[in-house]
């Protein structure tokens, strides 16, 4: 079930009404659990078996760690093996089989790749990471294992953020599941603007711009200007799409009395790679930092070769998390190199340039790096990348110029809502009245300008 379908709106209305009618914690949580499994298994019911497996394994691993502290490591390894094993089979099996086969072919050995007809279960990367944070935190004595299975199962499967995050931490989210929840009008007051923003960004911005970028990345030999236009369109699309999901997730959760963490803080205003990762997909980048980078010793290295190695491992795996394809890995490594280079130049961490001109230069450079990164991320494969850049003309004349400018113009027009929302957040003119009027116009835009061939949220594939 996807947020932008009418099915979801009906589903949410039913859950919302029943949830606040029952009023007591246990029935509320049972309702959330049943609703979450219905939501997740709507199209492919057997996906529920996977999330059920992950839930059961981590529930018992958590309890096992408390009852047998001496064997904590075994339970942690069981949890890691089970969850990463699920990911390995359902997301990466074909990728590794193909890669091994290609590597053997490169040295003259022929091996038919054993590929399986596997459907990638949506959201598997998200809930796997969320539930892993529970067992890792217990192992580190940062979280208490839970005995109430229903509470824990709600934490793993909570439908508003199940398939595309934000990735919540057990120590932050479980207490909310366990605490009694009563209807407060502030829930509605906080939720409805988030939901309107989400639908505006997804249906008006992301889906319309997606049509442009999709076409460009299907071209056999695009010009350099066209690649730039495609990259710009994709930058707008992926931000609008992903942050829209987060907004709707946060709004839906708020209506049920939960608070989800923020996932984006104007990422395209970043002035350095470290700044970008503090603003982009925050719940994921902080997960990688806390559970991978720091676990590998990242907090104890300087800016030398070991720092580079840890960055490459962390960022390469971050890239791989996004998809079973080499261009995602290379995108991750590219960002790792950027972070490293900025650190070596003394521009890492919380560095901020002095004065508006230096800030503008730093922003321009970083935005350029980000756009190039999105090309690596969006290309169908690395073959397309090398072929496109190897043979591309500049494209500053004739039909190529006209069509590239048309794509850029269309991207800018469909980005107007993003600029509008940014201005609304930063220039707080008129208060509630102006906000309500603007959201009224936003709803009218959603009703009229939504792309009729609605597309799935991009991050579903991860």
């Amino acid at each position: 079930m996807i947020f932008t379908s009418f099915t979801y709106l009906h589903f949410f209305l039913l859950i919302f009404t029943a949830y606040w009618l029952v009023r007591r914690l246990l029935p509320q949580n049972i309702l959330l659990l049943a609703g979450s499994y219905l939501f997740y298994g709507w199209v492919t019911p057997w996906f529920c078996l996977l999330i059920g497996f992950s839930t059961v394994v981590d529930y018992f691993c958590g309890l096992g760690m408390r009852r047998n502290p001496a064997r904590k490591k075994i339970f942690l390894i069981t949890s890691l093996f089970s969850n990463l094993g699920l990911l390995g089979v359902f997301k990466y099996f074909n990728f590794f089989a193909d890669s091994v086969s290609n590597a053997l072919a490169a040295i003259g050995l022929n091996a038919d790749p054993v590929t399986l007809q596997i459907i990638l279960p949506v959201g598997i990367s998200f809930y796997t990471f969320q539930t892993l944070s529970y067992t890792i935190d217990i192992y580190r004595d940062e979280c208490e294992p839970r005995t109430n299975f229903i509470d824990f199962a709600v934490f793993v499967s909570f439908f508003p953020q199940l398939v595309a995050g934000p990735i919540e931490r057990a120590k932050r989210f479980l207490p909310q599941v366990e605490a009694p929840r009563y209807w407060k009008w502030s829930n509605l007051d906080e939720a409805w603007p988030l939901i309107v923003r989400g639908y505006l960004k997804k249906l008006v911005v992301a889906d319309n711009v997606a049509v442009l970028s999709d076409k460009i990345f299907m071209l056999e030999s695009p010009s350099l200007l066209m690649i730039l236009a495609g990259s710009l369109a994709f930058a707008v699309q992926i931000y609008a799409d992903f942050s829209a999901y987060t907004d709707i997730a946060r709004g839906s959760a708020r209506l049920l009395g939960f608070q989800l963490i923020e996932n984006f803080k104007s990422p395209y205003l970043a002035i350095s790679p470290s700044d970008f990762w503090r603003r982009w997909h925050i719940s994921f980048s902080s997960w990688i930092r806390d559970y991978l980078y720091i676990s590998l010793g990242g907090s104890r290295v300087g800016t030398g070769a070991r720092f580079l190695l840890l960055l490459m491992v962390s960022m390469g795996l971050s890239g791989l998390w996004h998809g079973a394809s080499w261009h995602f890995v290379i995108w991750g490594l590219y960002h790792g190199i950027l972070v490293f280079a900025y650190h070596r130049l003394g521009l890492g961490g919380r560095w901020r340039p002095e004065g508006p001109i230096k800030t503008a230069v730093a922003w321009t450079v970083m935005f350029g790096f980000t756009l190039f990164g999105w090309v690596l991320f969006r290309v169908p494969d690395m073959g397309w990348f090398f072929s496109a850049f190897g043979s591309a003309s500049a494209g500053f004349q004739g039909d190529l110029l006209v069509s590239a400018v048309s794509v850029i113009a269309a991207t800018l027009v469909y980005s107007i809502p993003l600029f509008g929302l940014m201005a609304l957040d930063r220039i707080n003119v008129g208060g509630r009245l102006v906000h309500s009027l603007v959201y009224g116009v936003a709803i009218a835009a959603i009703l009229t300008l939504a792309e009729s061939q609605g597309q799935d949220f991009i991050y579903f594939q991860f």
């Binding site: 009418f6 099915t7 709106l9 009906h10 199209v43 007809q117 407060k184 009008w185 502030s186 509605l188 007051d189 906080e190 939720a191 409805w192 603007p193 988030l194 309107v196 999709d214 076409k215 990345f217 299907m218 071209l219 056999e220 030999s221 066209m226 946060r250 708020r254 608070q259 923020e262 984006f264 803080k265 104007s266 169908p380 039909d399 190529l400 110029l401 006209v402 069509s403 400018v405 048309s406 850029i408 113009a409 269309a410 027009v413 469909y414 957040d425 509630r432 009245l433 906000h435 309500s436 009027l437 959201y439 009224g440 709803i443 009218a444 009703l447 009229t448 300008l449 009729s452 061939q453």
Partner: protein, 353 residues
């Protein structure tokens, strides 16, 4: 709304009046804009029924004995002249890019049945399970084509293609909110008036130059066929398995009505399932689709209707395809037209008696 933006969502006390005032005001704005568009719509967004008279003229001019109903698959894959030459009967196509059953139903009802001498044989070309998906390709630009074929009020079209699958919310929006109901036309005008104007201003070119440049650069021939196929598979991936349940879908579809309408006018109706590029590249057909096709075939057998299925025909090879599911002009189209002329011999004999 204090914590409603990207900032903190720390809770605070707020009463019902204050909490409801914001959404109510926003809805009031929507109502005002909606009323404005409703008034404007009466003057601006009425489309002329261009397609119906065009098809009628085509039939009058060609005096076609055989009509092919389909979409771009037929446009690219069937050569009327070659077919007529090989069979000795006049044939013409009534197609539109991306057309599906709603379009074909309207063509039979409003075009073919309005002819003094309707064609003797109508061949419908379809893919997979689209015959029982009445809402498939009925929104956006496809809706404009349907309006052009309609006779003003089309209750069955509204019921099958729109309302029966909608649910309460979508049906209410469609019936009562002009902004939503007219979104296809409004969006098209917005794109023409705002989006394209910016590009034209930046380059000082006219609309025709702009449109031609886009058409040239994004021409099918400039795309990578495998990526187009992948995109098509993604776009048409079923989100609901009920579309593969023939028994539950048949009475919700245009198919029985199309068959009855054709029979009432003495038109022989035949169906052809076309081969797709994907059929050659993605291995065996999915199990639900195979079950669906068996049920469809059995349904046609009961009705005495012939179904020809080219999906597994080994004579149509990968090299006969151009892009996506389209056959190429050089070898694909002549081959398929010839195969079709031979395949349809029993139907041609029957209508020639």
């Amino acid at each position: 709304m204090a914590g409603s933006q990207n900032g903190s969502t720390a809770s605070y006390a707020v009463g019902p009046f204050r909490a409801l005032a914001g959404p109510m005001l926003a809805l009031a704005v929507v109502c005002v804009i909606n009323v404005g568009f409703s008034l404007l719509a009466r003057q601006q967004f009425d489309r002329n029924p261009e397609l119906k008279p065009y098809f009628q003229h085509m039939l009058d001019d060609s005096r076609a004995q055989i009509v092919f109903l389909g979409n771009s698959i037929v446009e690219r894959g069937v050569d009327d002249r070659q077919f007529s030459h090989e069979t000795g009967l006049t044939a013409t196509q009534l197609t539109s890019g991306g057309a599906a059953t709603a379009f074909w139903y309207l063509t039979i009802k409003n075009v073919l049945l309005s002819q003094k001498e309707p064609p003797r044989l109508v061949v419908v070309f379809f893919r997979d399970n689209m015959l029982t998906m009445p809402e498939f390709r009925t929104e956006g630009r496809y809706k404009e084509r349907l309006v052009e074929l309609s006779t003003g009020t089309e209750p069955l079209l509204d019921q099958l293609a729109y309302f029966q699958q909608m649910g309460f919310l979508k049906e209410s929006l469609t019936r009562y909110v002009s902004l939503y109901h007219l979104r296809g036309a409004i969006k098209s005008d917005f794109e023409y008036g705002v989006r394209d104007r910016l590009a034209r201003m930046a380059l000082s070119v006219d609309q025709t130059t702009l449109r031609n440049a886009i058409a040239n650069v994004f021409d099918e021939g400039n795309m990578i066929p495998e990526l187009v196929t992948q995109a098509q598979i993604m776009m048409e991936m079923p989100t609901d398995m009920r579309y593969y349940d023939f028994e539950s879908q048949i009475d919700r579809s245009f198919l029985p009505v199309m068959i009855d309408l054709a029979a009432s006018a003495g038109i022989r109706l035949t169906f052809v399932r076309t081969k797709k590029r994907r059929d050659l590249t993605s291995g065996q057909q999915p199990e639900p689709l195979l079950r669906y096709m068996a049920d469809l075939r059995s349904y046609f057998d009961d009705k005495g209707i012939t179904l020809y299925d080219y999906t597994d025909d080994p004579r149509i090879k990968l090299e006969h395809f151009a892009l996506g599911d389209h056959l190429n002009e050089e070898t694909g189209r002549p081959l398929f037209t010839s195969l079709l002329a031979k395949t349809l011999e029993p139907e041609i004999r029957a209508i020639s008696k």
